[in-house]
Subunit: 178 residues, 2 copies
DNA sequence: TATTGTTATACTCTATAACTATA
DNA sequence: TATAGTTATAGAGTATAACAATA
């Protein structure tokens, strides 16, 4: 029972509705942030996290859940630093660590962009939901998130490259594999 | 009442839980598709849609909901065509239109990749949900999706560029503005 | 030796604008 | 004139690997 290779029609419906809804929401939110603050959603998340923390964070702390590679964060942080929205300084406690703090300009930007951000989520996501829906959705999605956070980070073996039939779907020749 | 610039704590919780959950789910799914089929999620969606349609689709039909620019679809379609996963031919009915069809290799790839895809969503998303949760979530997210689909496509004025205080957060000089 | 973060590099993907061809 | 699609181009973003410095 419950074939692991199959989803019931209800599960399929949930999966597609969820992915499509969030895709549209992400797209709308990205646009709003770009128009009103000239930042991406990732950049907004980083700044918002610093505002919420109300203190400096290390790069590792800042990355958690927002970005999936160290270099990705360094890239974004250096852009935001260049734009004067945050500061970086090496930690006195641990000279390896970098402490990231938000600047006044950074806080101001978050404050300027947040109302529009909220309006978009309200209009797209919350408008059709009753208080009961909201309560149920909170219960469910909180549970899902905590479940996902707790999962082991999917396999440890080598990735990429696989002996499948298809020749691979990439643009160029792509034959370097260092 | 209900200040449009504010979200209640429950709404904030829903918003964050939803965005973070789907972000993790997307990441996991992208990895699985890359490892098992060497395709991206967008590419998977395009192929899956062709399988589901069980007939040829025009580029416009195929794009709907998956991709937000015409050229983006042309790009992906040309990759998939090059990889032998789909075909393109101009429509006899309307010579402007391109009919896209899936190849045997394309169908095979979807079939090969789908079980793992389902296992990932099952493990990450559905594992912690009861039948009741599932029913409620379907009801809610279907409503949200239909609501979003029905919304007018957010403003028509010119976009990008804005006279905000921040100097903008980009990498290079970026001073060409055609 | 393990951990924190940065850099170099390569590549994927997306979007805008200009263009072609058909309706 | 409007619509379907492609092409050229630019640049944003991401990930891997090699690296440096500190614990």
């Amino acid at each position: 029972m419950t074939d692991p290779d199959t989803l019931g029609p209800r599960q399929l419906g949930v999966y597609f509705a969820l992915m499509e809804s969030v895709s549209m929401l992400q797209h709308a939110v990205e646009q709003q942030l770009r128009v009103e603050g000239d930042i991406s959603y990732v950049q907004f998340q980083l700044l918002a996290r610093l505002v919420a923390a109300n203190s400096q964070l290390t790069m590792t702390q800042l990355a958690d859940g927002v970005v999936y590679s160290r270099s990705g964060l360094t890239y974004q942080a250096s852009l935001l630093e260049k734009a004067g929205l945050l500061t970086r300084a090496s930690s006195p406690d641990d000279e390896r660590a970098t402490l990231v703090g938000i600047t006044d300009a950074g806080s101001t930007l978050v404050g300027r962009v947040l109302p529009g951000h909220i309006q978009v989520t309200r209009r797209l996501l919350f408008e059709p939901l009753s208080d009961g829906d909201l309560k149920r959705l909170e219960d469910i999605m909180t549970r899902v998130r905590d479940h996902m956070r707790a999962l082991p980070p999917r396999s440890a073996g080598p990735r990429r490259r696989r002996a499948g039939p298809a020749p691979g779907v990439q643009s160029g020749p792509r034959d370097h594999e260092p």
